[in-house]
């Protein structure tokens, strides 16, 4: 595994399966897609779960189309050109969700252009509403080296991806590309390590939960 990538923390299988099933809200699918860009192992797993999806589609009770469906299909199809063969195998099968949920849709000018709002010494954030399919909230956190976030648990639907830098907590060390898909009951206090600020992308699905977490973040910091 290490020969392939340095990523050590991955989404749970149930999370990847939900993603393949199209059951994940917009905010979490952005976080998962960003991880997939970096993680060939999880891309393979999503492909596997899509195979389950294909098998499930075959089991669906068919619902007949209208009598004229095939005729109107050919009427529509006749006016359209077929797409040319792909230039490379890389361009083929470009129907992955990955192509539809890039982080760039929300961060057009990249991580460097983010306008951070200071929350506390050594901690800044940037909040983006993730509109679209089952809206949620995307939150970016910037933690200065040596700063520790107070102990907290995660909601079931929360997910954190490390975009820059690293942090260490009770679970282990999280670096670029690692995704924390923690169980609800995991209590942790991440400490930003290394020389550069740790930038994390966090998906939350409900404003209510988001406020609760904000309350926790406003708590005094240890290690300042």
């Amino acid at each position: 595994m290490t020969a392939l990538s340095n990523i050590r923390h991955h989404p749970k299988d149930v999370t990847l399966a939900a993603y393949a099933a199209g059951q994940v809200d917009e905010a979490r699918s952005v976080v998962i897609a960003a991880h997939l860009k970096l993680c060939p192992i999880c891309r393979l797993a999503v492909g596997d779960f899509e195979t389950v999806g294909g098998a499930c589609l075959e089991t669906v009770e068919p619902v007949g189309l209208s009598d004229s469906a095939l005729d109107s299909f050919w009427l529509r199809a006749g006016r359209q050109e077929m797409s040319p063969a792909p230039a490379s195998v890389l361009a083929a099968n470009d129907f992955s969700l990955d192509a539809m949920h890039p982080l760039s849709r929300y961060l057009k000018d990249g991580v460097d252009a983010i306008e951070w709002k200071s929350v506390a010494p050594g901690l800044a954030q940037h909040v983006i509403p993730a509109d679209g399919y089952r809206p949620g909230v995307l939150r970016l956190l910037k933690i200065s080296p040596g700063v520790r976030i107070p102990k907290h648990t995660h909601g079931d639907e929360e997910m954190t991806l490390i975009l820059r830098g690293s942090y260490t907590d009770e679970v282990g060390e999280f670096r670029h590309g690692d995704l924390a898909d923690l169980d609800e009951d995991v209590l942790h206090a991440p400490l930003a390590t290394g020389d550069e600020p740790c930038i994390c992308l966090i998906a939350t699905n409900a404003p209510l939960r988001f406020r609760t977490i904000m309350g926790r973040i406003a708590q005094p910091f240890i290690g300042l």
Binding site: V52, G53, E58, M82, D131, Y133
Partner: protein, 208 residues
């Protein structure tokens, strides 16, 4: 009416019109071949067979997932149009025909929901960055991988099979599946977990 024809699938009622059975393929290799025929020579006969098999299932899928019948039919048409137009992009070494068509239908449904949620949003993504190919030693031949996954899925204990199936073909969060099957939420989650573990094991992947 084609339900009985999806062979090796549990929970299907036997007895469908035989004559249709010969026309309607349900075996993965045959579906792949038909799609490749469409790609090679824009073969309309082959496409009609694909249409007869998939269009009513896509419509059924979209209706189960909450689309009204007319929208589901329209989206099923749109999905099949993509299959026709993009047939040359189909690569059986990456996904089987059924998998490929499932992802097309799934993405169309998500796009439709997105348009409904926020009409002004641009549904087409401008930047598609090609990814690296998975290394050859990890990329077990797709077809044999698919076969193992399908076999594992179809031999799941009925209770797990049904939960996985609902997860993929209904717009039902875990809590809704729990309610529907009259099960505690924890049971639904653990059945899904166990099912996915089994599928992984069948692939020879390590289970964490």
């Amino acid at each position: 009416m084609f339900g009985a024809l999806a062979r090796r699938v549990t929970g299907q009622r036997p007895g469908g019109p035989r004559s249709v059975a010969q026309l309607i393929p349900a075996d993965p290799d045959r579906l792949n071949d038909l799609l490749l025929q469409v790609a090679r020579s824009a073969d309309r006969e082959a496409f009609n067979s694909l249409f007869a098999f998939f269009a009513p299932r896509i419509k059924g899928y979209l209706m189960r997932i909450g689309s009204p019948a007319d929208l589901a039919e329209d989206l099923a048409q749109e999905a099949m149009l993509k299959v026709w137009r993009k047939a040359l992009l189909f690569d059986p070494s990456k996904a089987s025909a059924a998998t490929w068509i499932f992802t097309i239908a799934r993405n169309l449904r998500i796009d439709a929901a997105r348009r409904a949620a926020k009409p002004a949003l641009d549904a087409e993504d401008p930047a598609f960055t090609p990814e690296e190919e998975p290394p050859a030693d990890v990329m077990m031949e797709r077809q044999s991988r698919d076969e193992k996954i399908r076999a594992a899925f179809q031999s799941l204990p009925p209770a797990q099979y049904e939960v996985v199936r609902l997860h993929f073909i209904e717009d039902a969060p875990h809590s809704e599946i729990a309610e529907r099957l009259n099960l505690p939420l924890g049971t639904v989650k653990s059945r899904l977990r166990l099912a996915f573990e089994k599928i992984r094991k069948e692939l020879g992947d390590s289970v964490e």
